[in-house]
Amino acid sequence: MKKLERVMLIDDDVNTNFYNKILLEQSNLVEDIVIFQQAMEALAYLKNDGHNVSIILLDINMPVMNGWEFLEAYEKLDAKLKETLVVVMLTSSVNKEDHERASKINSVKRFLSKPISPEDINGLVSLIEAEMVKV
């Protein structure tokens, strides 16, 4: 399996970020991980040329700018930048409405319940490979 260049974690909870980071490192499928507790900062990072991020793991409930607001701003970003990028939404509850709402947003390719498992990460890598073929 080919390694992913860079994964972006956006979650206001430090523990979640820490856990996800360990899981990603242990999977040995990722080159680099960038972590943001504030969606606003993550957006600024992306705007500044994209840094070759391949996956964004995005939390929904966050202070200041939540996951939905982040997506709204993200949709307006340069199309070229988003071409090879996959957004995965993370939620702490099995909320059907959130699920339906996410399915209506183009850039959201997957919806995962927290906490994520090693299997989830394997699934994400295959997802990226499939997306790459499309491009």
Binding site: N15, Y19, I22, Q26, S92, S93, N95, K96, P115
Partner: protein, 608 residues
């Protein structure tokens, strides 16, 4: 007058056969006549002029005995009558008598029409009015009573002396105009019917209308409906003969009206009775008391109410009344604020209904109630706030509580990867922490779902077969693990439900059926559905452990569990969830069960 209607006192016209018959029958000398085939021939019996003190010669000499205005008024009404835009020709005209005094004469008429409905002749009578002050009421009551054979009305002055009497058939009390000036007890002995005189006094003193059904202790030949109402300084008493057999009904109606008025007063509702023509309103004592007023502080007009309605609410009241008048709503109903004596506002539920219409179908009288809702509105407001707090609480439960829990689950997972390095106690600890955390998560999720029931605003159409197929996919792991069979027996059906809640309801019942299975027996779940005009009937049948009859009610209560956790896992929320969803659909849920054989949950959902 001579210019407008040619008056020919021509005996030849009186030879007309129909006219003769008409006047012979009425026995009246005071009549008039108009032949439309010969419009120039209008005839007034000589009595008209004689009673005014004129000789036929004086009339012929064009003496001004009536003004042109009055003649025009008479002709205008006559044309309306001929065109059928009014049903009764009745008019009062001012004449000048030979002493140059104003005299009022009332004319009424009937039309004789041919087969096509065209008028051939107009025949009428006239009558002098002794007192012009009585005119407005005479007209109304005359026309009202002309249809009722046995009717009469007596007008008494402030000392209860006769001022005027009208008896349609001269037989109600065997009295005539000779009683004028006499006191009522000279006509109706006061030892006769006490209630009649009591009411009469009340009408006079309190200036309100009263009624009773009485035969005046046999003075009258049968029961009469007697209406009394204040009239100028005195009282007008109307006697209406009740058709045979109807008097009992009237009596009952009258009593029942008294009864419901009493019942409403007892129920602390204020009562109003509104005359839409005059905007006079009767407000009950309780109505006034509700706003903090004494009986005599509120008069009887509509603005006593409308001036006190909160300005923001008044328009909606009128809109709702209009909807009722337009027959869009069977009952007028509105909740609004009304100002009390002390300046504070109370919330009232205002409900009413038109109870009387005029001959054109227009509403004349509306009766209704005011119910004080202030306490209820306040409770509702508190309840709404509580509900909001509860929603806030669910939100906190769902997110803030789940986050640390997710951390526990996450990090026990990481620890679990290194459990080989731990002692047996350490390994067991991780196992317990993990399973407890999962159980807690399950609990929080189902609590959250329970609190979310009813959040969906609208029902959606769902394909029942598809819903069941999707559920089987969602529950794939459980079904596989238990080797369960889940099948639907019934027709394809599209049903209108609160989708998410409904799916979860079915899911809960299916999962229960699989979960509470008999050891070593493959769970078999059968779902059936039927549709009637008003409801959807579903059943979910399992072959599980069954439920004892004693627990049929209890299991629907939240957090009620029948088993320990080692036997069967569960939160005690599932079936209360089902019950709440069913209630949301205005339905019912019940069960049939036999221990060791299985359980069938039956659901009836209302389609409305």
């Amino acid at each position: 007058m001579a210019q407008s209607i040619e008056i020919n006192i021509d005996e030849s016209i009186v030879q007309d056969q129909s006219l003769k018959t008409f006047f012979n029958r009425t026995g009246s000398k005071d009549y008039w006549y108009w032949d439309l085939n010969h419009p120039e021939h209008a005839f007034f019996s000589p009595e008209l002029y004689a009673s005014l003190g004129y000789t036929p010669e004086e009339v012929k000499s064009n003496k001004e005995i009536i003004s042109n205005d009055q003649v025009q008024k008479a002709i205008k009404l006559l044309y309306q009558f001929l065109e059928k835009s009014i049903s009764i020709y009745e008019i009062e005209l001012d004449f000048l008598n030979s002493n140059n005094q104003k005299v009022i004469v009332c004319f009424s008429a009937v039309a004789l029409r041919d087969n096509q409905g065209s008028v051939l002749r107009v025949l009428g009578s006239f009558k002098h009015r002794p007192d012009s002050k009585l005119n407005p009421i005479n007209k109304n009551i005359h026309s009202l009573l002309s249809d009722i054979k046995e009717s009469a009305f007596h007008i008494l002055d402030g000392n209860l002396r006769y001022q005027y009497i009208f008896d349609n058939t001269l037989n109600v009390l065997n009295t005539d105009e000779c009683v004028i000036g006499k006191h009522i007890v000279e006509v109706i002995p006061d030892n006769n019917e006490k209630l009649f005189f009591q009411k009469l006094e009340t009408v006079l003193k309190e200036q309100k209308s009263l009624s009773l059904v009485t035969s005046l202790n046999g003075l009258l030949s049968k029961d009469y409906l007697v209406l009394m109402f204040p009239y100028h300084e005195g009282v007008c008493v109307v006697f209406m003969g009740l058709p045979f057999g109807l008097n009992e009904i009237y009596k009952k109606l009258f009593e029942s009206e008294q009864r419901w008025k009493f019942a409403l007063e007892g129920a602390k509702d204020g009562l109003w009775d509104w005359n839409l023509k005059t905007n006079e309103v009767f407000f009950s004592t309780q109505w006034k008391a509700m706003l903090g007023f004494e009986e005599d502080e509120i008069k009887g007009s509509l603005d006593e109410w409308s001036n006190r309605v909160h300005p923001e609410d008044l328009q909606s009241c009128y809109d709702d009344i209009q909807k009722h008048l337009d027959k869009e709503e069977e009952i007028y109903s509105n909740i609004h604020r009304v100002k009390c004596k002390d300046g504070s506002y109370i919330w009232v539920l205002d409900r009413g209904k038109v109870v009387e219409f005029d001959e054109n179908g227009a509403a004349v009288r509306m009766v209704g109630t005011h119910t004080d809702l202030t306490e209820r509105m306040e409770t509702e407001r508190i309840l709404n706030n509580r509900n909001k707090e509860l929603e806030q609480f669910s939100y906190i439960t769902s997110h803030d509580l789940q986050e640390p829990l997710n951390s526990i689950i996450s990090f026990t997972r990481l620890l679990d990867l290194e459990k080989d390095k731990m002692s047996a106690v350490g390994q067991k600890s991780i196992e317990i922490i993990s399973s407890s955390a999962y159980r807690m998560k399950e609990f929080i999720v189902s609590l959250l779902e329970y609190s979310k029931i009813g959040k969906e605003k609208e029902k959606t159409k769902v394909d029942l077969i598809q819903v069941i197929a999707d559920l089987k996919t969602d529950l794939y792991h459980l079904i596989e693990q238990k080797g369960a069979v889940v099948e639907y027996i019934g027709n394809a059906m599209e049903i209108s439900v609160f989708k998410q809640d409904f799916i979860k309801l079915l899911q809960n019942l299916i999962v229960n059926g699989i979960k509470y299975s008999v050891q070593g027996k493959r769970p078999h779940i059968i779902i059936t559905a039927e549709e009637s005009d008003f409801s959807i009937n579903l059943s979910v049948k399992d072959n599980g452990i069954g439920i004892a009859k004693d627990h049929f009610e209890k299991i629907f209560e939240v957090f009620q569990r029948l088993h320990t956790r080692d036997q069967y896992t569960g939160t005690g929320i599932g079936l209360s969830y089902c019950k709440k969803v069913v209630e949301l659909h205005k339905g019912e849920i019940w069960l049939d069960s036999e221990l060791g054989k299985g359980t069938t949950f039956n659901i009836k959902l209302s389609k409305t």
